[in-house]
Symmetry: C2
Subunit: 161 residues, 2 copies
Amino acid sequence: MSNSAVNAAPVITPEQLLAHWQGHRRVTRRVIEAFPEDQLFSYAVAPMRTFGELVLEFLAMDVPTLEELTSEQPRQYETPKVQDKAELLRLWDEHSRRIDELWPRLPAEVFQETRTIFGQFTSQVWDLLWYVIDNEIHHRGQGYVYLRALGIEPPPFYVRD
Amino acid sequence: MSNSAVNAAPVITPEQLLAHWQGHRRVTRRVIEAFPEDQLFSYAVAPMRTFGELVLEFLAMDVPTLEELTSEQPRQYETPKVQDKAELLRLWDEHSRRIDELWPRLPAEVFQETRTIFGQFTSQVWDLLWYVIDNEIHHRGQGYVYLRALGIEPPPFYVRD
């Protein structure tokens, strides 16, 4: 990284990245809410996972990634054992609060450092964080298809507040 | 934006953001390639758009957004008129090259400026660019569902080279 990159105006600040991520999390929460309770962990376009299972993957990555990056303690990749909508929403909100809490413990310098998380993914910290966010967008888009196929209007993609 | 933010190590540099975007574009290209010619502009999970139509939306946003940001000339939002796979791939590659060409004309300072594009979307430049990328990830995830429903294995999401 050149000195000019360090001194230039930022593309995005840590605060903006957090706000951007939390905006996406609000959309994902609305998608979970839009699913009928009896379809969240049962419906899928075969041979895919249910939207509930995809959300459990998001929860296995989001806070654990931040915990590992801020504490430098290895974390296991573990999928929460949840099978109902109310509990999934409760866990979603708990993780969103925990992300706000952990975020300030990531100093600006860390984003360009190279780290390994879950004992297997090695990359620069910005890239590890973007993977978590992009993976949420990718699979949430699949949830939109499930909702449409069920005749349910999904929440607008562009409303993030 | 505080002075400390300006002087801190960057979350992501302009060069890294370009490489990240082009990595996603390579995945999207592989998804286009994976569609059988006769399904690209005809198959969809009702009542959604075909994957070909979704890609035309990406092409209406990607280069036009960069052209407007680098020239400060208003651009129209116009969807290309393409209905076959070979021509769609040709246009995709042309836009990928054009993105590489235009990117260096975005000075680092511009990412934090507020601009209006297509005469209607006003936000900071980083947010306008992320919208283009996130929208591609979102709808490409839907293309993955279409491929699975057609019995076709989609390209891995995590392979970006």
